[in-house]
Structures are given as C-alpha cells and as structure tokens.
Symmetry: C2
Subunit: 103 residues, 2 copies
Amino acid sequence: MIRVSVLYPHAEGKKFDMVYYCNNHIPMVKQKLGDACKDMNVDHGLAGAQPGSTARYVAMVHMLFGSTEAFQNAFGPHAETIMGDIPNYTDIEPIIQISEVKM
Amino acid sequence: MIRVSVLYPHAEGKKFDMVYYCNNHIPMVKQKLGDACKDMNVDHGLAGAQPGSTARYVAMVHMLFGSTEAFQNAFGPHAETIMGDIPNYTDIEPIIQISEVKM
C-alpha cells in the first residue's frame, strides 16, 4: 500500500478556499480516481505543537492506493483536469509525496 | 476529530532508524496514549511528485483523537518519555501539526 500526500504550506498572503476544496475539488478527484483510491482523508491545519502557533500546512490530503503504479494509472488520464482545478481554490504550490504505508 | 501529524523532514546526513521507529517507538507511543488515540498510521517517504525525486519527509505519523483536549490529556503525562525516546531513532527535529479532520 502507498499513500499519496498533498500538502499545502501556510504562507502569508496566500489563499485557500476550504469550502470549494471540500465541496468541489475533493469530490471531483474522488470521482476521477475511482476504485483505485482506497481511502481519502482531508485535514485542515489548526495549530503547530505550541498553543497558538500556526500550522505548517493549511490543508493536507492523504490518499491510499494499492501501489505507485495503481496511483499513476488512475491519476495520469485525469492529471490535467485535477491540476487545472487548483487555481479555483488556492495559489499555494502544494508539496506532493508518495510514501510506503508501514502501518 | 483531530489529527496530530508528526513529520520528519529529509535532510542530508541525518539518520532515521525505521526499524526501531516501527518496532519500538510507535508501539510504546500506542501503549502510552491508550484508547484516546483512535487510529495511528505510519508512512515511510518514497518519492516526491517527480519520478526519482526525494520525498520531503522521511517518515510521517498521523494519529486520530476525539479532540485537542483528548490528545493533550493522553500525551501530557507521557510527553517526557515519548520525546526522550526520539534520539534513539533520529537526529531530525520533527514538525508537529494539529489538524481538524474534514473528511
């Protein structure tokens, strides 16, 4: 199993429309990825380790796939549509990471 | 529900002992946090978005709690033990984030 994480770093002056992200972007991504995506979690950053500190990431999405190939096969044909929707909710450049799920 | 994420940034020359982390540290943390921790996922970074690129984070752990208070009450009494174990597997300073689980 692999997890694909998309992390949106907090930065002064940048926008992130959480309502559009949850109500439009994520449902569209789910529909495009289909059954290849076994699970999807969306987080909204609240704080860092210290009370009152700013969360490093405004938003994070974690998606579970059987393998890197399964992700690439599901994502590839829809990459343009999915990436093209990003400006509708943010001007932050996300960090993308593929991880092996250890547990 | 909130998710507490602990992210270990990749950096040249830094160590991360994944075997110790998975076999010793994480089981100890699970035992200390008890039922307050509803779920725990451990990721080992494989790659960034581009094939062959380095993952931003060597390791990530995501832990689910009912509330920030539930996390603080579970973690507080064991903070010293848990944090004191970090040098046994890494010299990386982790980034900690508390997030609201949107989905």
